[in-house]
């Protein structure tokens, strides 16, 4: 890299200045969200101020003790985690095929996969709604308002992303490694689980965390394709915006709470993110 040992003192001042400014810009909105979450409605509409004079705990206590909200949180965790695992598994299989087999039309399949992420979501609400309420049904059961419905739906925009990311990672694993294992008489399944997956593990971790975040944050479909049972935390957030006015304090508190699982997840896997994406970019 161009960053060899010889960065000048001036260069270092620049680097630190850049990062301090970036950190401030990053933190101000989040801190502001925290400030709002600590205020009652009355305090909120006074003069803007950075200081939290008194902490209005009700904003946190009320949603946290509310069974509906707890269900939203559990739904979000279940949906995002299942979706991330499912997407990562499918993407590993698919990109292994795309990278190792010369399938007829595989370039087109790859590109088509990606186009699934490009469509503006709103127009697809109606067909998906019809699909979920009229087509996928067994007796009284329909896919509408189920966790599995959202888990499968999120595959449509997470799989393209995961396939794109994993394709680079798969292409980066030298084909000689699988060839050698095949010569030693290993089956394809053994090669995949013992050679490919361990080598791609960091990349898989990246795929999991990023798809997890995308699924965790999705709102539009979650709001339209669920009603009671499978509502997620983002739809819960939107429910604070009501006709009688927005309950900003509780909304901010819920937003803060909803960041926590992702934050824990991120800190654990951040090492892998850097390693993982790194591996994906090793090419040629």
């Amino acid at each position: 890299m161009m960053t060899n040992k010889s960065r000048s003192t001036l260069g270092w001042i620049g680097v630190y200045a850049l990062w301090i400014v970036m950190t401030l810009i990053t933190l101000i909105p989040i801190y502001w969200m925290f400030v709002i979450s600590a205020r009652s409605r009355v305090q909120l509409f006074s003069r803007p101020s950075f200081i939290i004079s008194s902490f209005y705990q009700n904003n946190y206590i009320e949603p946290l003790t509310n069974p509906t909200f707890q269900r939203y949180l559990i739904n979000s965790i279940v949906i995002a985690t299942s979706n991330a695992l499912l997407v990562a598994t499918l993407a590993v299989l698919a990109t292994y095929a795309l990278s190792r087999w010369k399938l007829p039309g595989s370039d087109n399949i790859f590109f088509w996969t990606i186009t699934n992420r490009m469509a503006p979501p709103a127009a697809f609400l109606l067909p998906l709604f019809l699909l979920y309420t009229r087509v996928f049904k067994l007796g009284d059961w329909t896919m509408f308002d189920t966790r599995i419905g959202l888990i499968l739906l999120y595959c449509v925009f997470n799989l393209p992303f995961a396939v794109w990311l994993m394709k680079g990672i798969m292409d980066g694993i030298p084909i000689e490694l699988d060839e050698a294992a095949f010569v030693d008489g290993a089956s394809m399944w053994t090669v995949l689980t013992r050679v490919i997956v361990p080598l791609a593990a960091p990349g898989i971790a990246v795929t999991v965390i990023l798809t997890w975040i995308f699924a965790w944050n999705e709102y539009l479909f979650a709001a339209q394709l669920t009603s009671v049972n499978a509502r997620t935390i983002t739809t819960g957030l939107a429910e604070f915006v009501t006709v009688t006015g927005t309950n900003w304090g509780e909304m901010a508190a819920v937003a803060m709470i909803s960041m926590l699982p992702a934050l824990v997840f991120l800190i654990f896997v951040q090492r892998y993110i850097v390693m993982g994406l790194t591996f994906g970019a090793v090419k040629e």
Binding site: A119, P120, L126, A281
Partner: protein
Amino acid sequence: MRSNRTGWGLLSPTLLILIIIGLLPFLYVLVVGFFDWNVFSATGRPSWAGANNYRRLVFDSDFLFSLRRTFAFTGIAVGIEMVLGFLLASTLVQDFPGKAVFRTIHALPLLVAPIAVGATWRLLTIPGLGLVPFYLDRWFGFDYRTGSYATHAFVTTVFMDVWHWTPFVTLTMLAGLSSLPREPMEQALVDGANRAQVLRFLTIPMMMPVIVTTLFIRLMDALRIVDEVYLLTGGGPGLSTHYVGIYIWRAVLPRTDYGYGSAMSLLVLYLTIVLAWLLFIVLSRVGRQQS
């Protein structure tokens, strides 16, 4: 071992899900695009309209305006994100005290749901309540009002998007940069090249695959942005931040103008694919020439 059957077998679960939940609705939208269908119309049933919806599109000045705005927004926001992300990532390749802290804080915005991002930024910028208008007025005497000035609203949405998505670019760029082999760059520096030349002729061409992937993902997501902007500005003032995702959403949901919404959606999808394809060709050609 490498029979095509096995290959298709590995691909099939992915294709199956994408065909059922991606392609089927797409075909439905494709068909509905040829119908005039508004639940609130006299009949409430779809009636064949041929290419009328598409004809309507071309003359819908609001839609075309919103499309132009979307491209302007995407171009500026993604442009800033790519450059800033690359710059930040290139400082992170080397170890320095505090790096882990900076990196973790930098990734925080990714964890905030877009809908909460929109709400937070709205609270930051609401006149009378928000910090931004308050301090801009107090320190600079600047009259900042996202509700009244189109430019202010537009710039705020760009700034919000940059705030939210630069960390994503930084992460992918960092990964790409730290995986590059060091020898060619060091050799070039020894041979008397300056840093700018190394960046221009070695680092950027070698980073091309990562840059293209990141750019595409950002472009796709920025072109279909809805929730953040809608909560921040409500698409206003006027139509200034009524980006195409919002425009389609508003046509489909409260107005239930399904036929027209489908047609708009397909046009945007088509434009995105063409844009991606063109960029792909241009960038891969530039990459090949330089390396």
